[in-house]
């Protein structure tokens, strides 16, 4: 007989609060220690450029593992069965490895004065327009990405403390403010490195624990093979979950990436490009020191171990589905639905200790990512837009304005999640991920290696990518007949690439003497 779906207990609530408090304390301590070292705003952004492979590797893991990977993946496995694997990101290590081989060159731009990703673009193209546009694109896409983080943390808080979902959303916003106010974000790389270790250890432990709890891999596979897809709300369908594609009925169903192999192909390319395309990811190399070949391999090992964490969280979802069937898809669990699978499974499989650690991990992934994104968006406004337009603006005023801008960037995604929480958060976040992959993989990643790239190529690709983003099948795509997620994602990513290459080839690159500074002769 299946174990009952657990409920919040006072012990669990205390355990969760203690685990989160402990995580906050360690983050603050690290932030405080590193803040003492940083002499100014610029140094605070990139540190001393002396971070080795361990910290950089785990920081990269932490910035990659947001609420989507550490929490939402269980929802995908639970709701969609094997076809959820495409958004779980079974191949995400490929993208992380590409980020490792491409992103290391960011260091070159730090030496030339860049402190953020848009600033790197200003240096690369000698263009304030490209910097401002990249800042604007980041704001739009990161707001969408932040919504998912809110839902992740609010779901955990709701289930473990018994607080209503909307109250949990407010609690999450307060926690972010506390996190930012006490300087948890100050130690950026070190705090992120610590988070990377925590997320990896807890993710693996939870995945293995639930695999055993559900009766082992064979039993899970057999159970998923016999189950049918249930819509959020509880409506049963006749579509089996046992395959790697889920032929959901058109037109609404076409918005799911795993609906057919067109969507699957797009999802594979999204995972190839997005680790490099995420500005908050590739920015991790801004603080890295020079590393040896041996250290490069060490970083790869960290990325492989950390990069398998999302797969273990997917296993949590499969296990929960095998044990409880589609019980979490009914109206009673609105608006959390299948996204609640990870929390319930962590309580049932690991008791208070594992559930508390998992809650702290989701807090680390969601709230810290959210805080990081809020900081990036606020900096986009002050550094990439205002300082860009008024270079003589006082640094003190800019810093004060950055702090003020934190409030709207905390409030906007909060309001969004409050008014229309996404039913499956990872599916929602994938929309923003495609856009970040399609725009920034080329504009940032490829531009560091392709001498012929021009500012007009980068500008055109960014504008194109942003426009197509709004035609997501669940946004305005329906107005132009774009119902299929796969076609939309392919048109966005490869369209951006095409626009970037063609426009670059048709326009003039930087003069040779300037390019020689950015692309010095390679020493072997």
């Amino acid at each position: 007989m299946a174990p009952p779906i657990p409920e919040a207990t006072p012990e669990l609530t205390v355990g969760v609060i203690m685990a989160i408090a402990l995580f906050l304390a360690v983050s603050i301590l690290l932030g405080f220690l590193m803040r003492k070292k940083a002499k100014g705003f610029e140094e605070w952004l990139v540190g001393h450029g002396d971070l080795g492979p361990l910290v950089t590797g785990f920081a990269l893991v932490a910035s990659y593992l947001s609420g989507w990977a550490i929490f939402g993946n269980a929802g995908l496995g639970y709701v969609y069965g094997w076809s959820g694997s495409w958004l779980i990101g079974t191949t995400c290590v490929m993208g992380m490895a590409l980020c490792l081989v491409i992103g290391y060159r960011m260091r070159r731009y730090v030496a030339l004065g860049a402190r953020t990703v848009p600033e790197m673009l200003r240096v690369r193209f000698e263009s304030r327009l490209v910097q401002a546009l990249a800042g604007l694109a980041m704001i739009i896409l990161l707001i969408v990405y932040s919504v998912g983080q809110y839902k992740a943390m609010a779901t955990v808080w709701t289930i473990t403390t018994g607080t209503p979902f909307y109250g949990s959303l407010v609690a999450t916003a307060i926690l972010i403010l506390v996190y930012l106010a006490v300087g948890g974000y100050t130690g950026t790389q070190w705090v992120s490195g610590f988070q990377g270790v925590l997320l990896t250890v807890v993710g693996w432990a939870l995945g293995i624990a639930t695999l055993v709890w559900a009766g082992g891999p064979t039993k899970i596979a057999e159970s998923i093979g016999t189950q049918l897809f249930i819509k959020p709300g509880g409506a049963q369908t006749e579509i089996p979950l046992g395959d790697y594609t889920l032929p959901l009925p058109p037109l609404e169903g076409l918005a799911f990436p795993g609906v057919d192999y067109i969507g699957v192909t797009a999802a594979i390319f999204m995972f190839l490009f997005m680790a490099t395309g995420f500005p908050h990811n590739i920015a991790r190399f801004l603080g890295a020191r020079k590393i040896t070949k041996r250290e490069y391999w060490m970083m790869l090992l960290i990325l492989i171990v950390g990069g398998l964490t999302p797969l273990w969280i997917g296993v949590v979802g499969f296990s929960a589905r095998a044990v409880w069937g589609g019980a979490l898809m009914v109206e009673e669990y609105k608006p959390m639905y299948g996204d609640s699978a990870a929390v319930y499974a962590s309580i049932s499989a690991g008791g208070v200790p594992l559930a508390s650690l998992f809650a702290a991990s989701v807090f680390a992934a969601a709230v810290a990512s959210l805080a990081g994104m809020v900081m990036i968006m606020a900096t986009n406004i002050t550094r990439d837009l205002i300082h860009n337009a008024f270079p003589k603006a006082s640094p003190k005023k800019l810093l004060a304005l950055t702090k003020v801008m934190l409030v709207p960037f905390i409030a906007i995604p909060l309001w969004w999640t409050f008014t229309s929480p996404p039913p499956i958060l990872s599916e929602f976040m994938a929309g923003s991920a495609v856009a970040q992959a399609g725009i920034f993989f080329f504009v940032v990643g490829v531009s560091m290696y392709w001498k012929r790239a021009t500012k007009w190529g980068a500008t055109a690709a960014t504008v194109y990518g942003l426009i197509i983003t709004f035609f997501h099948p669940n946004a305005y795509g329906k107005l132009v007949g774009l119902y299929h997620w796969g076609y939309w994602a392919l048109v966005l990513m490869f369209g951006s690439a095409l626009v970037y290459v063609l426009t670059s080839l048709l326009t003039k690159p930087l003069p040779e003497n300037k390019l020689n500074i950015l692309f010095p002769e390679r020493n072997r």
């Binding site: 094997w82 594979i268 492989i304 072997r524």
Partner: protein, 71 residues
Amino acid sequence: MVNLLVEKRRRKLSVKLMSVLIAVVTVCVILVPVIAYFSGGWFAYWGHALLAIFFSVVVVLIRTRYCWEED
């Protein structure tokens, strides 16, 4: 003169090897949906992870062996 010829041959060989490795990573990506279609279940799930690990080892090998850059 002999040294130059040897160097030229070595470079040619390097380019050939790199091309082979690039072909290998391309095949890794192509195999992902193929494995899902023909096998499914846990085999495809962890098979994808293994393919991704192999892919990442090869791209880092290309980077460190053929495209290494010093500051």
